[in-house]
Symmetry: C2
Subunit: 152 residues, 2 copies
């Protein structure tokens, strides 16, 4: 079993529902998780407001868990015993989301990833800035940027 399988979709799904009780109420599903793509999804019904569009707190939760999942997976593949935590974030709500909340990680550059890896291997901790996007059809609906830290 390679790391894509070992620390793939099932691994992240299990960790999210085990470690974040609220994720079950949000209905988080890890759609795909490999070296190329990371996508989390949640159904609209559990996360809608009375206007039938996604609640901002749910959009944030799906986005922050997508970033958390990327860091958690990366730590697992490197066999670094650390926890991913969010330190700061910005969120822009551009258009309402009227269907499933589908969050896609924008893959960090190789330079960013390498810097993060060096910090982890030297100090056992590190920080990385990640971007997550939620689309409504083809339109960018929500843009999340967050700094995640890996701490022991």
């Amino acid at each position: 079993m390679n790391v894509n399988q070992e620390f793939g979709r099932d691994y992240l799904q299990r960790r999210i529902v085990t470690e974040f009780p609220l994720a079950r109420h949000i209905g988080i599903v890890v759609e795909s998780a490999d070296d190329g793509t990371l996508v989390l999804e949640a159904p609209l019904a559990a996360n809608a407001n009375f206007k039938g569009t996604a609640f901002g707190g749910s959009l944030f939760s799906v986005a922050v868990l997508t970033g958390w999942a990327w860091v958690t997976r990366y730590l697992a593949t490197l066999d670094v015993a650390a926890d991913a935590v969010i330190q700061e974030s910005t969120m822009r709500y551009l258009v309402p989301v009227q269907g499933a909340l589908r969050a896609t990680l924008v893959p960090p550059s190789t330079a960013q990833t390498e810097k993060f890896r060096r910090m982890l291997q030297r100090a056992g901790r590190g920080r990385i800035r990640l971007e997550v996007r939620i689309h409504q059809g083809d339109t960018l609906a929500t843009e999340f940027k967050g700094v995640f830290a890996a701490v022991r």
Copy 2:
């Protein structure tokens, strides 16, 4: 009945649980809501991660609902038929929250409020920047800043 009573704690509690299904799972309680203070709280258990500290998505949700509640209350007192929506936000996680998630609105300045009121009364819509803080004991744990719009 004055507006503090009419659009106070019970009014906001009712609107939040009616309009945001996820707020029930988060366990949002409007602690106080009058012209001077606005405080929302949620229990740790439903919002904890496996480390026993508050999930970042729950902290965000409590904070954004506190801002939403301020705008919603303000619109009600002015009898303006508009909805409050979040447009953009920043969130800083300074120290972990290990107890109830208690969010306090930083009252906007009179100048800010007056500008918002003039926009609402002239155009039926407007925007205001609000700040919400979550404390862990006496320590500022989480700082939320968001721009809310009132739209018809």
